[in-house]
Amino acid sequence: MRAYPENYNRPNRPSRPNNGNGNGNGNGYMSQEEMYQKLMELDFISLDIGLFLNSHPTEKEAITAYNQVVSAADVLRNQYEEMYGPLCSFRSYATDANEWKWEQDPWPWQKSANPSLSGKECM
């Protein structure tokens, strides 16, 4: 867990794609939309493995995979929240000490919050 001093201010720096999933080379940058979509993907994987583990609680391989995905998502979520504001109600830090950003648009049901999948369809 990060500890924020009282005068904590949101760092104003671009994100790095080194999000723990092994794809980042540390040189390129991910846009906000790319980070958000990657986070959706990682969280979905851990959710789905979690359901599997409910009925297969001693599958070691799945537990290892689950922890890897949760860890990668944790790194990416922290980066995202530092740059763009909190994602989780009463679990995320208010990363900007001067402004409460939780309430800010867009909310998830708004088009602008969601990455477009046009041209990325699986055939």
């Binding site: 959706m40 969280d43 979905f44 979690g50 989780c88 998830p108 088009k111 969601n114 999948l117």
Partner: protein, 196 residues
Amino acid sequence: MWIYEKKLEFPVNIKAPNARLAQLMLEQYGGADGELGASLRYLSQKFTMVTPQAKAMLNDIATEELAHAEMMATIFHQLTQGLTKDEILDSGLDGYYVAHGLGAFPSAAAGAPFTATYFQSKGDPITDLYEDMAAEQKARSTYEFLIDLTDDPDVLAPLRFLREREVVHFQRFGEALDIARDYLNQQKYFYDMKCK
């Protein structure tokens, strides 16, 4: 207790409004086999479920279904943004519009408002898990019918995702049923909640 996460489970970004499609999508929001009913069904049944595995399954799938209800309402909402008066009148959404405007009201595509009579909470783990497996299949069928009537790729992508989740949930409930049945068969007495 739940933590709200400020993102959908799967992205919904629909560019073209479509009143007719919007009305159809209501079926999986507040219809008989819709996501709201699914979530409330599992949330209610978990209290009398047996075995840790089956309890966890009901709890976690109920939670995911709540996110699916949010996705379906989001699809409805985005499909209704930018509609003209003529589009609402010609599409058949006019009856809905005079009752709810463009608000997302949990109801079936044909207009019946959401009701708890769409599901059971029977207090019998075997009965409940069989209902849950049937519910997942009914929802899968509904998604397939919706996909049949949908051309917009922006709508098809989340529908396909949600259809696939029904298949996975059916599988997981089947495993939970096996575990719960094995547990109950180990018991020396006939399972009857009134006797406890």
